[in-house]
C-alpha cells in the first residue's frame, strides 16, 4: 500500500482555486439564502434588515431563528442569547482550522474567523485532510465567494420572494444535507483502513448521542454536545 504522505498532493495557494472550490457549495448557499429572504419578508423584516442580517450575522440557522423569535415577539435578550447558542459550534470549527493558519497576521486571522461557516469549514477541513495544508489566499477566495453569494441570495430572496415558487417542492432544501454528506464522505476517503473503522464506530456513537440528546435539547445543542462527547471518545479509544 502506498503511504498516506506520498499520495498527498499540494495544490497551489491561489485565490481563484478558493473560488473554484467554493462553487459546489453555492447551490446550498443560494437556495437557503433565497429561502431566508422570503422568510424574512413574511416575518415583517424590511429588505434592508434582511441585507444587514446577512452581512453582520452571516449564519443560516441563526438568521432563521432570529426571524422566528422576532415574529413571536421574544425579548431582545432571548434573541441574542439564542443566536449565541445556535452559533456556538463555530467555536469548535474555528479551533479546528485556526492552528493551520497561525503563520498569517492577526488581521488576516480575524478575517478567516469572521467568515467561517459550516460550509466553508467543511470545505477547508476536507482540503486539510487531503493536503494537510491551508493557504491564506485560498481561504480568502473560498470565504469571500461564499459570503458575497450569501448576501446576494438573501437580499434577492427578499426582493423577489413573492414570485418564487415553493423551493421545498424542488428539493432545494436538501442541498445543505447532501453537501454535509459529501463533505463527510470526502473526509473519510483518505484516512486509511484501520482509521476508517475507528471513524465509522465514532459516527455510530454520534448517531446514538444525537438520538438521546434530541429528547432533552434543541438540535443545535445536540450537535454541539454530541461532537464534544464523541471527539473525546475518539481520543480515548485511538491506538
Amino acid at each position: 500500500m502506498v503511504s498516506q504522505t506520498e499520495m498527498k498532493t499540494v495544490t497551489t495557494d491561489s485565490f481563484s482555486q478558493g473560488i473554484r472550490d467554493c462553487i459546489p457549495t453555492l447551490l446550498g448557499y443560494i437556495s437557503i439564502g433565497l429561502a431566508f429572504g422570503v422568510i424574512g419578508i413574511t416575518s415583517n423584516l424590511s429588505i434592508l434588515e434582511i441585507f444587514l442580517l446577512s452581512v453582520f450575522v452571516y449564519a443560516g440557522s441563526a438568521q432563521f431563528i432570529f426571524c422566528g423569535l422576532y415574529v413571536a415577539g421574544a425579548p431582545v435578550s432571548i434573541i441574542i442569547i439564542t443566536t449565541f447558542i445556535v452559533n456556538l459550534r463555530h467555536f469548535l470549527m474555528s479551533l479546528t482550522v485556526a492552528p493551520h493558519l497561525t503563520r498569517y497576521s492577526s488581521l488576516r486571522n480575524i478575517g478567516f474567523g469572521s467568515l467561517l461557516t459550516d460550509e466553508t469549514f467543511g470545505v477547508a477541513v476536507t482540503k486539510l485532510m487531503k493536503e494537510n495544508h491551508l493557504g491564506g489566499r485560498w481561504m480568502d477566495g473560498l470565504n469571500l465567494t461564499a459570503y458575497l453569494s450569501w448576501i446576494a441570495a438573501c437580499t434577492l430572496g427578499g426582493i423577489v420572494g413573492k414570485w418564487i415558487p415553493d423551493a421545498e417542492s424542488w428539493g432545494l432544501d436538501f442541498a445543505l444535507v447532501a453537501m454535509f454528506v459529501a463533505l463527510l464522505v470526502l473526509n473519510l476517503v483518505d484516512v486509511g483502513k484501520s482509521k476508517l473503522m475507528h471513524y465509522l464506530k465514532l459516527i455510530g456513537c454520534v448517531a446514538v448521542c444525537m438520538y438521546i440528546l434530541s429528547y432533552f435539547l434543541p438540535g443545535h445543542l445536540a450537535v454541539l454536545f454530541s461532537t464534544i462527547i464523541v471527539a473525546t471518545i475518539g481520543v480515548v479509544t485511538e491506538k
Binding site: 443566536t83 463555530h90 485556526a98 444535507v177 447532501a178 454520534v206 448517531a207 438540535g219 443545535h220
Partner: protein, 107 residues
C-alpha cells in the same frame, strides 16, 4: 427599505455574539500553544460535527418520541452512495436535490 435604531442594535448584538466564537479561537492559538491531546481531539471534530449535522436533519424531535424524518432518510441513502462513488461535492449535491425533488412529487 427601512429599519430603526432598535432593530439595528438587535442585529448588531446578534452580530457580536456570532462573531466572537468564530474569531476567539483564531486569536487564542496565536498566543497559546495547544497541548498535544487537544490537537488530537481537534482532529476528530470534522467527522463528528459533519455527521452530527447530517443526523440532525434525519431526526424528528417534534413528537413525544424522537423518530426519523422519513423523506430526508429516503433521500439520504442514494445521496451517500453517490458521494462514495463520485467523491464529488457538486455531483452529490445535485443528486441529493434531484432525489428529494422526485420524492416530494411522489409523496
Amino acid at each position: 427599505m427601512t429599519t430603526n435604531l432598535a432593530m439595528f442594535l438587535i442585529i448588531l448584538g446578534c452580530a457580536v455574539v456570532t462573531w466572537l466564537p468564530r474569531v476567539i479561537p483564531f486569536m487564542l492559538v496565536r498566543s497559546v500553544q495547544l497541548p498535544d491531546v487537544v490537537l488530537r481531539w481537534l482532529t476528530y471534530i470534522p467527522v463528528c460535527i459533519l455527521s452530527a449535522l447530517v443526523i440532525e436533519s434525519l431526526l424528528n424531535a417534534e413528537g413525544k418520541f424522537v423518530t426519523f424524518e422519513w423523506l430526508n432518510l429516503m433521500a439520504f441513502i442514494p445521496t451517500v452512495f453517490v458521494a462514495i462513488f463520485t467523491k464529488s461535492l457538486s455531483q452529490t449535491v445535485i443528486a441529493g436535490v434531484l432525489t428529494m425533488a422526485v420524492l416530494r412529487n411522489l409523496f
